[in-house]
Amino acid sequence: MGVNQVTPQSGQSQAENASALSATAEKPSGLKPKRSKLKSAGAATSPLLGTAMFAPAVTYIVLLIGFPFVMALFYAFSDARIGSNELHFVGFENFRSILQSPSFRKALENSIIFTVVAQIVVLVSANILSIALEKPFRGRGAVRFLILLPWVAPVSLGTIGWKWILDSIYSVITWVLIWLGFVSKFSPPMWLGEEKLAMASVILVHCWRLIPFSTVILLAGRTAIPKEIPEAASIDGAGFWRTLFQINLPMMIPILGVATLFGTIFTFTDLAVVNILTNGGPYDSTQTLPNYAFNQGIQGSDLAAGAAISAFLVPVLVVIAYLMLRVAHRAEVA
């Protein structure tokens, strides 16, 4: 730091001397002291300036993420209820009671099923789309834009749209199926009213929402592969499938890891789709952890139970994130 404080002055006088001597030397040496001056100013005030610049981010994280997170954990071990003035520490009582609840177990199971199935469908579809969209063709820009749209639309609005599409009376899907003669007009499928169909509907909407995102990520990953490599594979005699599964996809593992990580977290923690579409019904058949936590904690006034349910998301997400990052890292190193 001492050096930094000294150099600007000596540098400046040198620059003055140099500019007096030759006109050509003026520019580069004129720039130099300015730069070191700035550096020393930054160094002198850095603790304060650094803190000031860092503070908004820290405040944001502490107030809006850290504090609610700690509160949730705290509530999970208490008997907090909306409208109650009393608060007692109850240990693992909440966890014990929700683990015994069939609704919770169903919600946990569904959360995992929805996430896994949706991820498989999303990754396969996104792969197909990214291959289709890689090479230029007429109208590729328009197609890319249309595919990206579901991601741009607010989840709640999109889901409300789907609620109409899957409505028991006004479903356009049902109309089309009746018109094609696949289903009877008198016993149309109840998309959101039958257990299996409701599950499929929820997964469908999750896929609809995540495919654009994954497609964009995979497209980026695919474009990053040097074009000589698939070319070399084709000269080596590999066909489409071999090139895809033995060359392109293995080279895309890090980016597939990122797409899966984000997709998993988005699906696993999503409240809007289930809440708007089925609210967990019929008979908890589409219940998920976030929706169950919301129902119990906010709508059912049992804050403690809601917090305990939410707490179950944490270890699952931590494990998923850890695994995915490790896969991505290993693929990078290998």
Binding site: P226, E228, E231, S234, I235, D236, G237, G239, R242, M251
Partner: protein, 345 residues
């Protein structure tokens, strides 16, 4: 092994624009080392990629082993190619890289190990088989790429500037190795380069390309000693051939033929040459300067001389070119034309 032939091969990338490759007709010989030489943008790589089947021609035919292969996939052409970047599969070990073509072409599994080891030992990389490409040096990667190419015993080798990613020292040894390798396997090889030294050193014959057109197709000696036009004359040789206009023709002479008049005993053309710069290159001098007097007053020329003579910058010397080393080109077409007597004074 096979002969590669192209007939009026043309590639136009954008309709209405000049083709990257225009009406190229060539025929290799059995087991020949053929070099495509040209500056960047000359169409040499496009030509190679069409032969490989990575690019489809706009017009014309490609024949490998006497069979038209235009409609065949790269796989069916039984060719092997080494890319400029080597294009090794980064996620596979050296063993699996070399083995990949065998798997892809359904070679029986029990032969894999033997063939990979044969290819690896041919290129001296047997000890690297368990490494990943990123753990290899540039020279080692190049050898892996060659091993991957040779392993399935292709009928034609295509090499796209395989030495350009190596440093100068390694390039020389890799070049020798490649020559020895070609002599040993004897497969017809097409080698693309922009480096005239590589082309001269390695090629049995050289195809000189410029702007998608074949300018000359001949042996290295012929291309150097008897260039077909001024492009070939100036593209090969370092420093390039001196070209001076004289009446209806352009006269060319190589820098090494431009010497002190007193050292030339045969029929010669003599010039006054003022030395303006001397470059000392260890084994030789490069003198650049201008001609004085006569029709060519003020023309810039370069001479290349062996050591043992002293030259001063600014001094004028009596220089000359033996008449048999003068090349004549038509002034309008820039093509080679017959020798003629000219007035120089």
């Amino acid at each position: 092994m096979a002969v590669v032939e192209t007939r009026n091969l043309t590639k136009v990338f954008k309709q209405g624009e000049l083709g990257a490759v225009n009406e190229v007709s060539l025929e290799s010989r059995e087991g020949e080392f053929l070099v495509f030489l040209g500056p960047s943008g000359s169409g040499k790589t496009t030509l190679l990629r069409m032969i490989a089947g990575l690019e489809s021609p706009t017009a014309g035919e490609i024949l490998i082993g006497g069979k038209v292969v235009n409609e065949l996939t790269p796989r069916e052409r039984r060719i092997a190619m080494v890319f400029q970047s080597y294009a090794l599969y980064p996620h596979l070990t050296v063993y699996n890289n070399i083995c990949f073509p065998l798997k892809a072409q359904n070679v029986p599994k029990k032969l894999h190990k033997e063939k990979v080891e044969w290819a690896a030992s041919l290129l001296g990389i047997g000890h690297l088989l368990q490494r990943k490409p990123r753990e290899l040096s540039g020279g080692e990667r190049q050898r892996v790429a060659l091993a991957r190419a040779i392993v399935r015993e292709p009928s034609v080798f295509l090499l796209d500037e395989p030495l350009s990613n190596l440093d100068a020292k390694l390039r020389l040894s890799a070049r020798e190795e490649l020559e020895r390798f070609h002599r040993r396997v004897g497969t017809t090889t097409i080698y693309v380069t922009h480096d005239q030294v590589e082309a001269m050193a390695m090629g049995d014959r050289i195809v000189v390309l410029n702007k998608g057109v074949v300018r000359q197709f001949a042996s290295p000696k012929e291309v150097y000693d008897d260039p077909a036009d001024t492009f070939v004359a100036t593209f090969l040789g370092s420093p390039p051939m001196n070209l001076v206009e004289n009446g209806e023709v352009i006269v060319g002479f190589r820098p090494e033929h431009f010497r002190l008049a007193s050292t030339i005993q045969e029929q010669k053309v003599t010039f006054k040459f003022r030395v303006e710069n001397v470059e000392y290159l260890g084994a030789e001098f490069i003198l650049s300067g201008i001609l004085l007097g006569g029709k060519l007053d003020g023309k810039k020329v370069v001479a290349r001389l062996l050591l043992g003579q002293e030259f001063q910058i600014g001094e004028t010397y009596e220089f000359a070119v033996p008449e048999r080393h003068l090349k004549f080109f038509d002034r309008t077409t820039e093509k080679k034309t017959e020798a003629r007597a000219l007035a120089w004074a």
